[in-house]
Amino acid sequence: MIAALIGRQTNTLNRRIIAPMRQEQGLEPDKEGYHMDTIVNDFSINIATANGTGSQSANLILLQTMADMGVNVSGKNLFPSNISGLPTWYIIRVSDAGYQAPGDRTHIQIMMNKATWEKDIEACEPGTLIIYNSDAKLPVERDDCLVFPVPMTKMARGLHPKLARMIANIVYVGVIAHLIDLDDAAILSALNKQFKGKAKAIDLNTQAVVLGREYAAENFGDERGKYRIEHREVDEDSFMIEGNEAVALGSIFGGMTTLAWYPITPSSSVAENVIAWLPKLRHNEDGESTCAVIQSEDELAAVGMIIGTGFAGGRGMTCTSGPGISLMYEFIGLSYFAEIPCVIWDVNRAGPSTGLPTRTQQGDLTMLYEASHGDTQFPVLIPGNMEECFEFGWRAFDIAERLQTLVFGFSDLDLGMNKWRCKGFEYPDEPLDRGKVIRTQEQLDAIENYGRYRDVDGDGICYRTLPGSGLDPILYRGTGRDEDGVYSEKADVYEKNMSRLKRKIDNSRTWLPQPILREEVEQEVGIIYYGSMENTIQEIDDILESTGMMVSQCRIRSLPLSPIAEKFVRDHETTIILEINRDGQMYGILRKELPIELVPRVHSVAYSDGLPPRAKLYAEKIMEVLRDIGATEEVLA
């Protein structure tokens, strides 16, 4: 597999569209001053609600409506670790440039939550459109903003007194629809999707939307600010989906035979989606399943179950987050040492400890790569988009069985629990790789001097037999053993085995998912990044470019590091490792694994506050580091 060299096809387009936006960001102050030119498909909406009020439906309807109008849109749910009553914000970013990160400012603020009222108003920059529930009876004193009071609760009560709290949220969909020109047909289609064709719910909510729209038309008319949605060509083959559902589908197409899981935010929806999809995809006509699903008693049991699955010859997976991985550590080492295949998906949340359970981070990377006690190393697959969540979902099993080890999928809350555009999933282009499993006596006889841990092929990967086969049985163990699997504490036997294990994983560097490069000709600065940062990198790149700085990019998609990543560092005078954590975990891995002469060339830009990455913030940090090391002038020159 050779890295795809992807050109910057989108850049010309970007330059045309992002210019006004940069002015808004203050990156290119508009010398002509504030203008009221209409801004089309390029703004952010922030919706402040309390969780448990049904606002998520309203927000998803807005998102889906815009998506169905062909507009590039992304939604971020900033929700609390709580069931009902705590503040929640939903950020919708509309961007013809294709940007998916939350923008650097809010253009339209919707106010539904009394608890955060004051702070939300305070945060509005001049010129912001403020739509608020006037039934909250709280003041909005901002002469520098356009304000839109709407008695949402009263209107909702008129429709359905009992459900007024929820319906009020749908009213703001109608108000927004008037202000930014949302298409009625698209709203109706989104309502249909959201309420899954349930006529009663669709009818009630449609009425609420109409009510909101009519109220806004009557009371605000053309005084509706400058932000508009315009139809774009709809990509007929793409849809919006959450990363966790994509992983779930991938694992089902990967021939998973056992899912063992313990509920934890933000990974639970991987399991819940598996459970939802299995009847359609893996049940026979009698309703019998080809995949077991066990909700385990804890994470220790979940990983034990998938190791038992691998021992028996099946394909086991669990999904969890950082705290779960911490609990699984002992078993993970057993998988490494006894060489039992299985797959763990870590949907990263902000740690350490319980941390911020509903916020995102890339803080688990090193704990996965060298998980458990003693010397270990694990393949880590790092998807950056929905297509890869699906692909790595199935591929993880092939890699685990080929390498006879535990493989990590590394996602995060942002990727896993927010909806992203997906161009459709590609069917696996290769058959299941079941690895070196001896299934017949003939196969066993063909191997001279068989031993479970004897490296007869010289690639570090040994052959194995399965329980029930009657072929050369082994008592698996986590203790030292010789090449035949017999208990041993001999120094040379232990050392030779550990070296083989290292070689086995090292050999995968060239065939695991390889980095994706976007290279500028003769550029001095390169950026290495990974995972969900993919959704922000284009915007970061454009911001840097607007200052005259052209940088190359390398997205790492797996560990251990590919030689392509090393070459990327070699080809650039300075390489920034960009990541969403405090300590620069990938940077640490690179420093350890790069040849010593390349180490001075790599620099860390690592930042995490729990929120999805904002382009401007990271771009500024990159420029700061480049300034500090004296690279900026050189680059700009």
Binding site: G255, T290, A292, E297, L300, G310, G314, L432, P467, G468
Partner: protein
């Protein structure tokens, strides 16, 4: 000389394992030999058995029986979860698991409970000696009140009776026996192997090296007095296995252990109704009050579905499914892709 064969024409040798490295006279070795006999007499194909264990002296024993079976010596206390995963994927295997009281009553008690709750189809042998042998003699959570080990205080902490726990959890097969009661233990083992569901056998299996009462100090006294440099824990005296015993139903017998201590075994009377959970608990509590250990089949229920049955899996074991059965066809993915577009 003709070699005696079982119903599937295999000699008993085909059921033997490797040489034990446990202390001479260890009760666990007797359990291993019972496993060999029971599996052979039941005519189980050793190739269709999987041996499972955790960590500890008892968990080493799968190396000493059924050498033709695959097995997994997993991590401390968490063998039930590994067995659960394996059982889902190959329901044709017979799982014989050995666990210690450190495994089962402490670090792994949660996994034991949940394996019982799911009615995992397996035989779970608890080799119960009240001490942590491999770490050299700390009390376990099954140690009786009043037990005293060589160093340290008398155990004052209430023990956990795992048989009572199992009955309360609705375990479908609960038995208690003694490693020296070979006849009873073999009969229970054979019944457990035939049971479809979770079969729990608590086997009182004395530790010859770390017997946890005052007398044990006397047993080692000679060594201590004669060689100051030799730690008692490093010295493994050679004992013969506990003499084979038989206790008739409804009767009790005092068994003298290597160190001179007495264990009073009672065999549950023939009137005991194993389908009556309350009677089983009454017998356990009665024996505890009388400082006896009641043995025999305490509780049995054949009607509960197993963990694998609950899953409603296809009849072929999951590990034997073809690629086509495991991966839905391309049309299914096309349909998903277009379904999201609607």
């Amino acid at each position: 000389m003709t070699i005696k064969l079982n119903v599937i024409n295999l000699p008993k040798d085909d059921y033997q394992g490797g040489k034990s490295s446990l202390c001479a006279g260890c009760g666990h070795d007797q359990i291993s030999s019972v496993v060999v006999n029971a599996a052979w007499e039941n005519g189980l194909d050793p190739r269709n058995i999987a041996k499972m264990s955790g960590i500890g002296c008892s968990s080493k024993t799968p190396a000493y029986f059924l050498g033709q079976s695959h097995g997994f010596n997993t991590v401390h206390g968490r063998m039930p979860s590994v067995t659960t995963g394996a059982a889902m994927n190959n329901k044709d295997l017979t799982f014989i698991a050995v666990s210690g009281d450190g495994d089962s009553a402490s670090i792994g008690i949660g996994q034991l409970i949940h394996a019982i709750r799911r009615n995992l189809d397996m035989v779970y042998i608890l080799a119960n000696n009240g001490v942590y042998g491999l770490t050299k003699g700390q009390y376990s959570a099954t140690a009786d009140i009043g037990s005293k080990k060589k160093k340290g205080a008398v155990n004052e902490t209430q023990p956990i009776d795992l048989c009572a726990l199992a009955v309360n959890l609705g375990c479908t097969f609960v038995a208690r026996s003694f490693s020296g009661a070979k006849k009873q233990l073999t009969a229970l083992m054979k019944a457990a192997l035939s049971h479809k569901g979770f079969a729990f056998i608590d086997v009182i299996s004395p530790c010859v090296s770390f017997n946890n009462n005052e007398e044990s100090m006397r047993s080692y006294g000679y060594v201590k007095d004669n060689d100051v440099e030799l730690h008692t824990v490093d010295y493994i005296p050679h004992f013969s296995p506990v003499e084979e015993i038989e206790v008739p139903a409804g009767a009790y017998r005092d068994i003298e252990l290597h160190d001179g201590s007495i264990v009073r075994l009672e065999t549950i009377s023939e009137e005991h109704d194993p389908s009556d959970a309350v009677a089983a608990l009454a017998a356990l509590h009665g024996a505890e009050a009388a400082k006896k250990h009641v043995t025999g089949l305490l509780y049995f229920n054949a009607d509960k579905p197993t963990a694998a049955e609950d899953q409603n899996l296809v009849s072929t074991p999951l590990v034997d499914l073809s690629d086509e059965q495991l991966r839905p066809p391309k049309e299914a993915l096309d349909k998903i892709n277009s379904g999201f577009l609607d």
